[in-house]
Symmetry: C2
Subunit: 317 residues, 2 copies
């Protein structure tokens, strides 16, 4: 059993990953500045003796090093990032600090302390718009269209260089849209929140034709642990469902049907929700499938389940 | 005629670019913190009425903005970077600040001031080791093996995202090894310096079999101006000679023959000079050749000319 540090572990993916690692018998320490993650999200983890939390800003190497303190960390999961893409488009400093300087700082501390293994939560946003081309791990050119995607790519680049110099093992997992609870942002939470405020009417940005693939966080965490277990020296994997996704229209209808069946849905115009959003996206997970992992849900099932979970969290929670 | 700001313009490539722009009748303002560039390198530029210099740290957006002051800048050439690769391998903060945060800061100032055109000096170091594969602009995966390459890639990513949001035009020129004067670092300058200290003996790191392509700075500046004149909204080009380069052994012999013909050359072992150095590198410039540019010199001629220029600078200067 090992000691795992999860940077940014008080967020949505972090608490799910922590629960899975604890379940496997590992020790887990979460380091988070609570700027987006919350203490309440971690509440269920506190039942485990192997869990601890230390508050620190992971983008500050001194603060992070101090937070690690006396711990002998075996592996770091770097999940610290800005999760508000439009905020990063408006002000580049948000992703610079939260999404990229966290990577620089974590690598700094790993080098000082000879912590040998890093798992990095990267993003499909590093690729940018490739039209109808299937996006596999080696496609080029990389052309992120948001600062979020740019700073995830920047992080990958720095991890690659660190691996050449001193890092023992690194895995990079490129996340698609991930859904589930505890939800803090995203289209389902938006819709649920809107219907909570105006139960008779749901306003949708864009014409609803935008299509995206969604992975349930349970499948994501299984994939992350699976990639860890492969034990490759430097691993890069897309993670996602096997389908091409479902439309915003379908998500809106699902939320409406489960939450306020009598509500009217009103669509806007255009198929692009906001700057930094790629309208169509064909994501290949062939490489990961080839190693024996497969998702237990498609995009539709993932959305169906997450809608129920998020309504439970927001409305009945 | 336009007003061109050259960030990092007191360095080797910058002063050559400035001279060419002034020659074409443009106005040029160099902004540089003189950490690597020097006032003496800019001395020949001061004869031009259209030239000015402002000292500032380009990685600090407030300092850069203040340096620009009242100027109505039309185009920015971003050449500010750490040029000491091993220094960046030893301490990631060197490239973080000098190679990457300069990009973030320059983009910040361009957004504030609506400066529409950026030309970025990127590097073949973004690609990393691809064995015998020919490296064209769209090859993947990108796997830089030095912090320098990583922070150049990070810069490209941020420029791509800025172009999506507000930047009018951007060109990215991926430099190979560039040689000429005023030389501040590099293998030729090393050899000339060694022979100046010990005229009877030249020590070479590695066995001399390492082969690299070299471009003379005159050809590079012609390429940069050519790419500018193409006027593409987002241009990415490899720049380099058409050959696969020449060996360290040949460079050592050339320097010896021109500087101290009686000296003995002593080679070390292995074909890798230092961390961050890719042993073999096949670089495609097909895309740029297709637009009508071609280099006037091959690697061998570029080295021959640069050896004479650098000996003149160091020994007879």
């Amino acid at each position: 059993m090992s000691l795992h540090l999860i940077a940014g572990g008080a967020g949505f993916v972090g608490v799910n990953l922590a629960a899975a690692l604890l379940e496997l018998g590992h020790e887990v320490v979460v380091v988070d500045d609570l700027s987006r993650g919350t203490l309440s999200a971690m509440a269920p983890l506190r039942a485990h003796a192997g869990f601890s939390f230390r508050e620190a800003d992971c983008s500050d190497p001194e603060a992070l090093d101090q937070a690690v303190g006396e711990l002998e960390v075996d592996e770091i999961w770097h999940l610290a990032a800005n999760s508000d893409i439009p905020a990063g488009v408006a002000d580049y400093r948000v992703d610079l600090r939260q999404t990229f300087l966290t990577t620089a700082s974590i690598l700094d501390v790993m080098k000082r302390r000879s912590i040998p293994v890093l798992h990095f939560a990267s993003s499909s946003a590093i690729y940018g718009d490739h039209g109808d081309d299937l996006i596999h791990e080696n496609i080029g050119p990389l052309q992120p269209i948001s600062n979020y995607g740019a700073m995830k790519l920047a992080s990958e680049a720095q991890i690659r260089a660190a691996h050449e110099a001193y890092l023992g093992k690194a895995s990079i997992c490129r996340f698609p849209n991930v859904i589930g609870t505890p939800a803090t942002h995203g289209v389902i939470l938006d819709f649920v929140g809107k219907l909570k405020r105006t139960p008779e009417r749901l306003e949708v940005l864009g014409d609803g034709s935008q299509q995206k693939a969604y992975l349930h966080v349970d499948d994501l965490v299984r994939a992350m642990l699976h990639i860890r277990d492969l034990g490759e020296r430097f691993a890069v994997f897309n993670v996602g469902p096997i389908d091409d996704g479902i439309t915003v229209r379908e998500i809106a209808e699902r939320v409406r049907d489960r939450q306020c069946p009598a509500a009217d849905i009103h669509f806007g115009e255009g198929n692009r929700g906001w700057v930094g959003d790629v309208p169509r996206f064909r994501y290949s997970v062939e490489r990961l499938l080839g190693t024996g992992w497969s998702p237990s849900m498609g995009s539709r099932e993932a959305v169906q389940r997450a809608v129920d979970e998020i309504i439970a969290q927001e409305v009945r929670g």
